[in-house]
């Protein structure tokens, strides 16, 4: 384990995450890779757990529902990132309106002030660190009223 890390020159954290996917069966060396995925049908039925009615037990239904579920999962992994950003923007908008500013003006002020905090951090500051958020809002407001060329 240690030698592998040294050989790859990889950060400990990333190596730990990479190795988690490996299944080490008892009695086998840790780095042995053992395939326990099962037959084609077993794989589909494993993914169909929790489906409604016959869709979890009957092959044709389960196969179709699982394929659709996988498509939804693919799409949602991308949607998740978009929706999170929308949420942060709404939260920042609400936080900034307490200071007689709106989201668009605030972002413009941030750009003028050269502050590159991203929307995730800004929204979390607004929720959990109100004083720090207030400082950022003031910096943005200052940049708006007296812009540097």
């Amino acid at each position: 384990h240690e030698m592998l890390l040294a050989a790859l020159g990889v950060c400990r954290a990333t190596a730990r995450i990479a190795l988690q996917g490996w299944r080490a069966a008892p009695g086998l060396p840790q780095l042995q890779f053992q395939r326990e995925f099962g037959t084609r049908k077993e794989k589909i039925f494993r993914l169909a757990k929790g489906f409604r009615g016959r869709s979890k037990n009957c092959w044709r239904l389960a196969r179709n529902r699982v394929h659709k579920a996988l498509q939804h999962a693919y799409r949602s992994r991308r949607l998740k990132r978009r929706q999170a950003r929308t949420r942060w923007i709404m939260q920042i908008n609400a936080g900034v309106r307490e200071y007689d500013l709106n989201y668009s003006g605030f972002i413009r002020g941030l750009k003028l002030a050269g502050i590159e905090l991203n929307r995730k951090v800004l929204s979390q500051l607004a929720i959990q660190e109100p004083y720090s958020f207030r400082a950022v809002v003031w910096s943005a407001r200052d940049a708006l009223t007296s812009p540097t060329s």
């Binding site: 939260q91 502050i115 590159e116 905090l117 929720i127 959990q128 400082a135 910096s139």
Partner: protein, 241 residues
């Protein structure tokens, strides 16, 4: 004064994205743990009230300490805030009182809908019930501009052929004045189970009395120059000038 307490003098201009992430992460890490993650709704007063009288210097972290934490190569796992059950509990919700007398209908209702959805809060989270309760009084005295009092119609159908009823704003105001505000707000709320639940948090009353004194609703202070408080008919006067 604001200038004295302003952080800009001591806050370094964050040009470097790495430093920006660092600063944000360090501030998040400085939390005392799980205690801060969920904030019951009534404890979050306006930012001005919360921050009043505290010097900004108290919250600034030392420069070198930030860099060493970030360079430690430990995986730093910080979770973004999500609402807990305490934040969505109806008992913790804020109650607002809005006097509809002399208000412009639609412009007032957008503010009402915003409050019902919780979009005025930093802790807004889509799909969760973080909105507030709103009590509207004097709904019979709500105003509408232009000739809409005679021209705006409300339509309903009884389900049988020919059982269509169309009544004007004036007629409905005489019959059931609360319904005007309710219909307006309902059209502004999201449609779905959550939207219907948010609508149930709206309490409209025609007169100036309301039975919710026990919830001590806070009278909503309309911002200066708000279009809701502006007297209808101002547009025509302006064009004459």
């Amino acid at each position: 004064s604001r200038q004295a307490g302003h952080l800009q003098a001591s806050w370094p201009c964050i040009i470097n994205p790495r430093m920006a992430r660092t600063a944000g992460m360090m501030l998040l890490l400085s939390l005392p743990g799980a205690a801060m993650w969920s904030l019951p709704a009534p404890s979050r007063r306006t930012a001005a009230a919360r921050c009043g009288g505290v010097s900004m210097a108290d919250t600034v972290e030392a420069g070198p300490a930030i860099l060493s934490e970030w360079d430690s190569k430990k995986p730093i796992h910080v979770e973004t805030w999500v609402p807990k059950s305490a934040d969505m509990d109806n008992r913790n919700k804020q109650w607002w009182l809005i006097d509809a007398e002399g208000m412009r209908l639609g412009r007032m209702c957008t503010e009402i809908a915003k409050r019902l959805m919780g979009k005025h809060k930093v802790t807004y989270f889509p799909g969760s019930n973080v909105g507030d309760y709103v009590v509207v009084i004097n709904a019979e005295k709500v105003l509408i501009s232009g000739s809409k009092a005679k021209a705006k119609t409300y339509f309903r159908h009884g389900g049988r052929p020919g059982s269509v009823t169309i009544e004007t704003f004036e007629q409905l105001q005489k019959r059931i004045p609360e319904r005007i505000v309710e219909k307006a707000v309902k059209g502004m709320l999201p449609k779905g189970p959550l939207g219907r639940e948010q609508f149930r948090h709206l309490k409209v009353f025609a007169g100036s009395e309301h039975p919710h004194e026990a919830q001590s609703p806070v009278k909503y202070a309309w911002p200066e120059g708000s279009l809701a408080t502006k007297k209808p008919g101002g547009k025509k006067e302006k064009s004459r000038e």
